[in-house]
């Protein structure tokens, strides 16, 4: 992997506290919640388009079988990624919740 890519300070990282209505601390930085919602919407859109292509295939429209299969697999993979990210987040939340102060 390109070592430079590891050193990018990740402009998407949650620097601003996720207070509702709070402005991002610096312009160009995104709220973590917005980032998540965007990701979920993207997964949803991928799944919807995969479903539409499956329906097109079944109703005899002119679509490539291999395109349909790959788009379904892509949608499945992005959904699993979303699921794992969610699992990590829930895990982190639980850990913070149980922390002794």
């Amino acid at each position: 992997m390109n070592p430079v890519s590891l050193r990018i300070p990740a402009p998407q990282l949650p620097l601003a506290p996720a207070v509702p209505g709070a402005q991002p601390a610096e312009p160009g930085y995104k709220q973590f919640a917005d980032l998540l919602i965007e990701g979920f919407q993207e997964v949803n859109a991928t799944q919807n388009s995969a479903n539409a292509s499956v329906h097109d295939l079944l109703t005899g429209k002119d679509v490539d079988r291999i395109e349909v299969l790959t788009s379904v697999q892509k949608a499945d993979m992005s959904f699993r990624l979303m699921q794992q990210i969610r699992n990590k987040l829930v895990e982190a939340y639980r850990e913070i919740n149980q922390m002794q102060i």
Binding site: N51, H55, L58, T59, G60, V68, L69, V72, F79, Q83
Partner: protein, 134 residues
């Protein structure tokens, strides 16, 4: 009844797999009767099925305004495709073209395999969604 499969492609895939299975039976019947004198080759219309399926998918996506949960149990949107499977087509002429039958069977099998493969991955995705941790 709340049906978690209605928003997926599973109902359509199921009907397509059933259609492929029935069409295979019909085509295999043609092959078996290849030496029968006066036998008319039979087939199921893929066009008719596809049109009915497209209508059914459209109906599931945009339920009619008077739609309520009580109706949903009575009216199955997949009734159209199911009816389309029942109509046998009879080809004119008793000559059965063996090559044509074999080609149709191969195409039909291809559809069946695709439908089953897609179904498998859809069920797997749903299972992942339900089981939280995989």
């Amino acid at each position: 009844m709340l049906n978690i499969f209605n928003q997926t492609t599973l109902p359509a895939l199921e009907q397509s797999a059933i259609f492929a299975q029935r069409r295979h039976n019909v085509l295999a019947g043609n092959m078996a009767n290849i030496d029968t004198p006066g036998y008319q080759a039979r087939d199921l219309s893929t066009e008719e099925f596809e049109t009915a399926l497209a209508e059914a998918i459209e109906a599931t996506r945009n339920p009619s305004p008077g739609y309520n949960l009580g109706d949903a149990a009575d009216v199955d949107p997949m009734d159209g495709p199911r009816r389309a499977m029942e109509n046998l087509l009879y080809h004119d002429g008793s000559e059965i073209n063996l090559e044509r039958q074999v080609t149709e069977i191969a195409k039909n099998q291809n559809l069946h395999n695709t439908a089953i493969a897609l179904m498998k991955s859809q069920f797997e995705t749903l299972r992942v969604a339900i089981s939280e941790r995989v």
